[in-house]
Structure formats: structure tokens, C-alpha cells
Amino acid sequence: MDVVTLIWLYILGLVRWLLKEAPLQVINFVRSLPTLIPELIRWLWDFIWFNFKPLAQIIVIPGLAFILLFAMIVVWFERKFLARAMLRIGPYYCGKRSGWLQVIADFLKLFFKELVIPDDVEKALFLASPILLPTIPALAITLIPFDSNWVLFDAGGLSLPIFLAIAGLAPVVPIFAGWAANNKYTIIGSFRTAYLYVSGEIPLVICAAATALLAGSLDLVDIVEAQRPLWFAVPQFIGFLVFFVGLILEAERTPFDVPTAETELVIGWRTEFSGILFGFTMMAEYVVFLGWTLLFITLYLGGYLGPSLFGVPLYDHIFWMLLKLAVIVVIVVLIRTVYPRLRLDQTLRLGWNYLMPLALLNLFITIILKWGLMI
């Protein structure tokens, strides 16, 4: 057969299908539409939600946007607040007479500034450590429950120890950074960081263990849920105080900002970083602070739980978490205006002589309390 005949046959078959089969198909499709559309919408919604929720968690909360915004707002607030304590105005002309764009201006300027990399530095470490610095505490923040089903990283019921493990890794980076910069001030600063973390972190871990013991779980969501009748700040008051001091110590905030003491060690292990690398180290300070504060809220102040009135809980929401965060930030900044910096030996003495025994005492009290509850 030649090609023309074949084409004709094909066209004839098509016409016959169109006349006999197609109407039926169309009618069937139209008949099934009312059931199909909701199905489709639901499927689309599931698709979006399934992908969107982690995406939102990564980007919005507790992700990048949250951390950056937190650092920005805290820096701005701190500068304004300190200026008020000094009877000054603080940043003013940058951004409509309030200075709220000041941090952005600083960041942009640092971003476009020349990166001075001295000759004697260990280049790879020198460049890597400022980037690692905010990353590690940011990883730890992913474990914090912002709502009962708003946890970015589900650690399978072990989120507290994993948080402590990741956050405990953070101090290693300043040590490397200080060593890599090959400067006497940075090396003293990084050694001070090491001392400080060791003396501060152990009481923190013991306090955290006590709360886990009280809640009967190592999962942060369970710990929060266990606080539904009463925030752990009340039964573990000693632990609450110890953790608060330790939190300031870990975040290197003012009474304990020994490693970056400006009047002694230029700015400690940050001395040699220039341009955006310095911007990262500056951000890291606030990320560490954010991480420990969030853990503090989760462990002692009921996390995302609203205050419950006579056993009737108010609406649980991320909002409560942010509110508690704001209160603690204000308190910590206030402490900065009121107290001078302690010396290294005094800080270590505080860590080992006071925080450590108090944390242990707290643990024993918790054990007794738990034992009493079980009986």
C-alpha cells in the first residue's frame, strides 16, 4: 500500500472515533468533575503544605529571616538603649530620625569593604571560621519547638542532648579562629573563650539534665508539654537562676564578655577579621545568644505555652515564645548597662565555685522531687 492510502485510512479511523467514542468520554469527564476538583485542590494543598512548611521553617522561623531580623533588632535596640543610658540619642539620622536602618548600613558597608587577609594567617581556617561561627548555633536553633508541630528538625525524642551537643561544638570555632589569625591578642582571646565555655557549659548541661529528669523525657516538645501545669522556673528555681547566668556567660554578654574585652584585648579573637568576615563574627554573637535564650525559654519558661490561669491554658502560639524572648533580651541588655566586666579568674571562680555546686544541688533537689512525685 502506498502512503496516501494509509493516511486516508488513519483519517477515517479518527473520524469514526470522534463520532462514536469521544462524546462518551467527554460526558464521563464532565460527570466526574465535581468529585475531581476538591480532590485536586486537596492534593495541591497537601503538596504545597508538605513542601512549604519546612521551607517556611527554614526561611522564616526559626530560619534565616528570624535570625537575621533578631540580630538586627537586638543590635539596633542595644545601641539605642545604651545610648539612652549614656544620656545620648544614639543612631539618629540614618533612617528617618530613628536610626533603624543603621544596622543595615553597617552591614552593607562591611559587605563592600576590602577583605584584608594578613600574610601569616592560616588562610583556609581564617576564611572558614567566621562562616562556621553563626552556622553551628543556627543549626542548634532548628531543634527548638516553636509550636507543638512547628519543629524543623525532628530528632526522634532526643532533641535536648542533640541541642547540647551541637551548641557545645560552637566554642571550638573561636579557638580555631583565634589561632588561625596568628595574632597575640586573638590567641589570648581564644584561650579565654575556651576557659569560659568549659566553666559555663557544664552547669548548663547539669541544669538541662534536671529539667529533662523532671519532665521525664529528653524531647523538647515533651519538656514543654510537661510544663503545662506549672513552668519549671518555679520548681527548679535554683536551676533557673544558674541557667540564666550561664546563658549570659555562654553568649559572652557583658559581665562575662572576657574573650572580646575591648579594653584589654582589642576585640579578642575577632581582632584580625575585616569586612564581611567581621560582620559574620558579630552576627554569631547574637546567634549564640539567641540559641541559648530559646533553650532557656523552652526549659524554664514554658516555651510556646501561654500563661495558664488556674489550670486553664491560654492559646498556645509562637507569639508567646517571641514575647518571652523579647523580655529576656531587654533584661540582658539592661544588665549590660549596669555592670562592669568581670576578670577572667573571677568569671571562672563564679563558674566553678558557685554555678557548678548550685547546679548539682538543683539536680539533687529535682531527684528528690521526682522521687516524691513517683511515690
Binding site: 545601641r79 545610648a83 543612631p91 540614618c94 576590602e114
Partner: protein, 157 residues
């Protein structure tokens, strides 16, 4: 052709860049001479240079403004030069007071140098010591200079 399309983009970047640099001048904690108390008054309450985003900073690496406050002796002159070389671009120099500008009351001393022999200067502030208003004015002149001259395309037109 490419120039025509690129021009607005450059304009935006230029604007952002100069704006950021203008409002974020970080001078070093470095005093060479005796105008330092007046400089301290400027950072104090009545004059408050932080309003302009001027934040004295500790280490050379992060700073972008060398405020030469007061007389420069020969021994200090080397340090001024050294510090200027350590700073990252863009960097500015402000000469505060009569002494760095023209050796001031110590014009015939064997031990002083003028700043022009050491580093390029952006703004000179005269006075012995300059009044705080003068220092603020000098900083504002520096901002103006940054706005005009420190963009991406500065010097290319």
C-alpha cells in the same frame, strides 16, 4: 548599548553603597595628641556623634576612618603611616586640630611632623582644640565627600 542598560543598575548600587558608607563611618580608637578630651566630648551627650553613625571602634581591620586627633610627633608619625596602611579600602583620614594640619603651636619643634608628610587627608578641621561643632561639621563634610566620590563608578566619569 550595554552602557545604557547598565546605567540605572549602577545608579542604584551607587546610591546604596554611598548611603551605607556615609552612615557608617567607624573611626579607630587612636589619639595622637591633646585634642582627645574635646573628641571625647563630641562622643558625649551634648554633641553625640553616634547620631551620624560614627562609632569609634577598636581594631584597625574593621575601621574605615583614621581620625588624627592632635599633635603628631616623629615617633607617632611612623605609627600613623603604619595604621593607615593596615586599614582596608575605602579609608578616610580626618585631621583634627591645628597640630596635625600645620604643626600648630609647636611649629618650630624638632619633634613634630605635619600630617601632609605622612598620609593623604580628606578633611581638615582647624582649631586648638577645635570646638565640638567644628568636629561634627568636619564629619558631615566627610559624609558629603563620601556621597559624591565613593560610589562604584567614582573617578570613572
Amino acid at each position: 548599548m550595554a552602557e545604557r542598560f547598565a546605567a540605572p543598575i549602577y545608579g542604584v548600587i551607587d546610591y546604596l553603597l554611598t548611603w551605607a558608607r556615609k552612615f557608617s563611618i567607624w573611626p579607630i580608637h587612636f589619639v595622637t595628641g591633646c585634642c582627645s578630651p574635646e573628641f571625647m566630648q563630641v562622643s558625649g551627650s551634648r554633641f553625640d556623634m553616634e547620631r551620624l553613625g560614627v562609632l569609634p571602634f577598636a581594631s584597625v581591620r574593621q575601621c574605615d576612618c583614621l581620625m588624627v586627633v592632635g599633635v603628631i610627633s616623629r615617633k607617632m608619625g611612623e605609627r600613623v603611616k603604619y595604621l593607615y596602611e593596615q586599614m582596608g579600602e575605602p579609608k578616610f583620614v580626618v585631621s583634627v586640630g591645628a597640630c596635625p594640619t600645620g604643626r600648630g603651636p609647636f611649629y618650630d619643634s624638632y619633634a613634630t611632623v605635619a600630617i601632609d608628610d605622612l598620609v593623604p587627608v580628606d578633611v581638615y578641621i582647624p582649631g586648638c582644640p577645635p570646638r565640638p561643632e567644628a568636629i561634627i561639621q568636619g564629619l558631615m563634610l566627610l559624609q558629603e565627600k563620601i556621597r559624591k566620590e565613593c560610589g562604584l563608578r567614582a573617578g570613572k566619569e
